[in-house]
Amino acid sequence: MTEIYLRLVDRILTPILLLIAIFLFLRGHDLPGGGFIAGLVAAAAIELTILALGSTATRDRYGPWLAPLLGIGLTVAVTAALIGMAGGGFFLGRWIQFEVAGETLKLGTPQLFDLGVMLVVVGMAVTYLLRLSEAAEAATPSAERQEPRP
């Protein structure tokens, strides 16, 4: 059963990849990075789980969060755009600044929009990959398929 290596890699790499995704997302405001890339990295992490454990186990692990992810992401992104409407534009950037331990932090609609983009990318990519792997698993005769041991 070759999947044991993949499962080991999954156990080590998936948390790291998810952390990289968060890092890329936060970095993206002023430096290369951003929601789209972060979303792709997070989707890659989840795809690793799908490859290692199969689609059913992945659905069990990430559970009910995956299904509405696309909707949440879109709603967040549209909200960011609508907040801009308060300033008289659509997608107008609005910021609030505050001081934490001597550092000036900026929070604003661009980050909110980026978060929405990230969620949409993760939601869409993972839905697509899950559907594809489910279809592939259904197409494989069950004798050939090896169920991962719990």
Partner: protein, 168 residues
């Protein structure tokens, strides 16, 4: 020189994409469409002029230092095409995902790598009597423009009826 190479690359990708799309088989179709999108993304990349080592954002100080707008333009990388390419990539990613799903469904249904219409053609040429029997089963009104498509639709929409007809 680099611009010429970029143009040649775009042309090459277009040529390969066209060749693949015109081949028989649905995986080749997906690959060909992928090459098309790459070609167009590269063409978009070329529209911003190819510069090396030039900044995409210029502040007021460097405008003064450069002296004139023309001198500044010579050392300036246009960031907009990259934004356009990113958008185009995202869109083509979604499109490719959708086409792959469609083709996967079709593959599961037909068990072959053949595109719509090709299946009927292959079916008809592989079995010398198949064309005749298929034609015999068609209603009279179907003797028209898109016969093969119609055959396929018939065959797919009512597989059980086709089997019955075949028994009779």
């Amino acid at each position: 020189m680099t611009a010429l190479m970029l143009a040649l690359l775009v042309g090459l990708l277009f040529a390969c994409g066209t060749y693949l799309v015109l081949q028989r088989g649905q995986i080749k179709l997906v690959l060909g469409l992928g090459l098309f999108t790459h070609a167009i993304n590269l063409a978009l990349f070329g529209t911003g002029r190819l510069t090396r080592g030039a900044p995409p954002l210029v502040d007021g100080e460097s405008v003064k230092a450069a002296g004139s707008a023309a001198a500044l333009f010579a050392r300036y990388a246009d960031p907009l095409p990259q934004a356009l390419i990113l958008t185009a990539i995202v869109i083509s990613f979604g499109m490719t995902a959708f086409i792959v799903m469609l083709i996967f469904r079709r593959d599961a249904l037909t068990g072959s790598d053949l595109l719509p219409g090709e299946l009927a053609a292959v079916v008809n040429t592989a079995d010398p009597f198949a064309e005749f029997t298929l034609r015999m089963q068609l209603p009279e009104a179907a003797d028209d423009y898109d016969l093969l498509q119609y055959e396929l639709d018939e065959l797919y929409d009512h597989p059980e009826r086709e089997v019955e007809n075949a028994r009779e």
